[in-house]
């Protein structure tokens, strides 16, 4: 009986202890289960936030990060049923080729305070996003290469349109010189060359290069005997020799091969030198120019009754390399490009030279690897200032109206020039930008950042 008395009531503590263990196990298991679920939710929120953040950076560039992070958080929260907090203590890590984003979402799980003193457990989901980019620090200006070929033969002493000039200062020769000076005085940044011819080459620049316009201003106005005095051959018209000299100048290996080459050939008479087939020789030289990619504009100075033969000849040496011997070419966009011009008075001569415009280009690249065909329109380009703030460069191809040619970016008559625009040439994987952007890269050493790939979650 005694033994029994001792044993009486001894089960109760044991039972309580077991109940306690069961309670702890129950609450613990429940909390752990909730924690596991919260952890998954937090990870989903972190992943979604990182993808959204990467998209925001790709489309807008790196602006006020906290504001961009808030917007990414909205996307993250939309992807979970739990209340989550975000930790942005790890800033974006940027290299030349990528931006690495660390996104941390925290879901607070209520927990029994007799087990977890804080009364909550943090379920943390962490994601790392990688947004690929390309960074280019150099920009290169490109210039049109232009050789002016001017006829100073004896017939240029005639009046424009074939009428007797009121004074010698108003004959074709003087009108041409003055009009050419109008072009040169514009001080365009062109790689200039000059050939003045009569019976032979009366003057030629040594080369085609930037800054030649200064010496050309002097030489255009200089006395080369013709058209008024004999140059030893009678101030004839050696068109073939002049075009050949233009070819020599433009064939200089020192000239950048990616730049466009032009000849503006001005004459008022059919070729007379050399004696043997002068027109054929001139056409042969035009062919040589086309073969090396030169576009030839011709200006027929009408100062005699005989117009058609010279017109036919001038058209035969006019045109771009892919449309040889043409007066005009219809562009794919329906516009017409003219390569043969004629003028018969001072006003039209001046207008011809006044209407010549130079459109430089500023190239950045090539991109490596560059966007795939489907990524071109989603490509975003930025310049990065010293503090890391990025300025977006707009795609001129998507503007309204869009830019169709690289030259449009620098064209004074179009809207792009004074804003931040780029055009992408998929063929050579080069970016071309407007003058303002070019200056920021070249003078303020702001790198250009290009983003086109989607952000990928890497962890």
């Amino acid at each position: 009986m005694r033994r029994r008395d001792r044993e009486h009531g001894g089960v109760l503590p044991l039972l309580l202890g077991m109940l306690l263990i069961l309670a702890v196990a129950f609450f613990g298991a429940t909390t752990i289960g909730r924690f596991v679920v919260a952890r998954q939710e937090a990870q989903r929120a972190a992943d979604a936030t990182c993808l959204a953040y990467g998209t925001i950076i790709r489309t807008e560039g790196m602006q006020v990060l906290s504001e961009q992070q808030r917007r990414a958080e909205v996307v993250g929260r939309a992807n979970t049923t739990l209340t989550v907090l975000f930790d942005w203590s790890v800033p974006p890590l940027e290299t030349a080729t990528a931006v690495e984003l660390t996104c941390r979402a925290i879901a607070r799980v209520p927990a029994p305070s007799f087990i977890w003193a804080a009364g909550t457990i943090d379920a943390i989901g962490e994601a790392k996003g990688r947004a690929a980019q390309e960074t280019i620090t150099d920009a290169e200006k490109k210039y049109p290469q232009l050789t002016l070929v001017l006829d100073y033969s004896g017939s240029m002493a005639a009046g424009m349109g074939g009428v007797r000039p009121p004074s010698v200062d108003q004959d074709s020769f003087h009108v041409l010189r003055n009009a050419a000076m109008t072009l040169l005085n514009k001080d365009y940044e062109l790689r200039y060359g000059l050939v003045i011819f009569a019976t032979g080459i009366r003057y030629t620049t040594d080369n085609v290069r930037l800054g030649n316009d200064e010496i050309m201003k002097e030489k255009v106005m200089a006395d080369w005997k013709c058209p008024y005095r004999d140059d030893g051959g009678g101030c004839m018209t050696a068109s073939a020799a002049a075009l050949q000299q233009a070819q020599n100048l433009l064939d200089d290996p020192a000239l950048p091969s990616t730049e466009k080459k032009y000849v503006i050939f001005v004459s008022d008479g059919l070729p007379t030198v050399p004696r043997n087939n002068p027109q054929g020789r001139a056409r042969q030289m035009a062919g040589a120019l086309w073969d090396m990619g030169v576009t030839i504009y011709t200006l027929h100075v009408i100062n005699s009754a005989s117009v058609t033969p010279l017109r036919n000849f001038m058209i035969s040496v006019s045109g771009p390399p892919d449309h040889r011997g043409v007066e005009t070419v219809t562009n794919p966009d329906g516009t017409t490009a003219r390569y043969y011009f004629n003028v018969n008075d001072e006003a039209s001569m001046n207008e011809f030279f006044d209407e010549i415009g130079g459109a430089l280009a500023c190239s950045i690249g090539p991109l490596d690897p560059g966007p795939a065909a489907g990524q071109v329109d989603r490509m975003r380009v930025f310049t990065k200032a010293q503090g890391g703030r990025e300025t977006q460069i707009m795609n001129a191809r998507l503007a309204a109206p869009p830019a169709n040619e690289i030259g449009d970016l620098w064209d004074d008559d179009l809207t792009f020039r004074n804003s931040d625009f780029f055009l992408y040439d998929a063929e050579d994987k080069m970016l071309y930008v407007t003058p303002r952007v070019c200056d920021r890269v070249q003078q303020q050493h702001e790198p250009v950042v290009i983003r086109f790939a989607s952000t990928q979650i890497v962890l």
Partner: protein
């Protein structure tokens, strides 16, 4: 008698006054023609100059149409009425002056 003498003197003066400039003009033209003919002759490698050469050069100075070559000066072509598709008296349509833009890249 005196009257007749005065009249003759006046007539002679009038003729002389009128003839002077014309002679001068012709003298200038002829001189220029001769020089040009010499120059043209020079081009021919020393060929003798004949009357046709002088006539040809004179025609050029008188703004007469001539055959092709670099000496088609002075032909009487009425200037086309401005630009933009006007017709010259020679029948050639003047071309519109459309702006040329020299692009830097291909």
């Amino acid at each position: 008698m005196i009257r007749r003498g005065v009249l003759v003197a006046l007539l002679v003066s009038l003729v002389a006054a009128c003839a002077g400039p014309h002679l001068g003009d012709n003298y200038g033209r002829r001189t220029r023609a001769a020089l040009d003919a010499q120059r043209a002759g020079g081009r021919e490698g020393g060929m003798a100059i004949d009357g046709d050469d002088a006539v040809q050069v004179m025609q050029q100075h008188r703004a007469a149409p001539s055959a092709g070559g670099s000496y088609q000066t002075g032909a009487a072509v009425t200037p086309a009425s401005g630009i933009g598709g006007g017709m010259s008296s020679s029948g050639a349509t003047t071309t519109p002056i459309t702006p040329i833009r020299l692009d830097a890249v291909k």
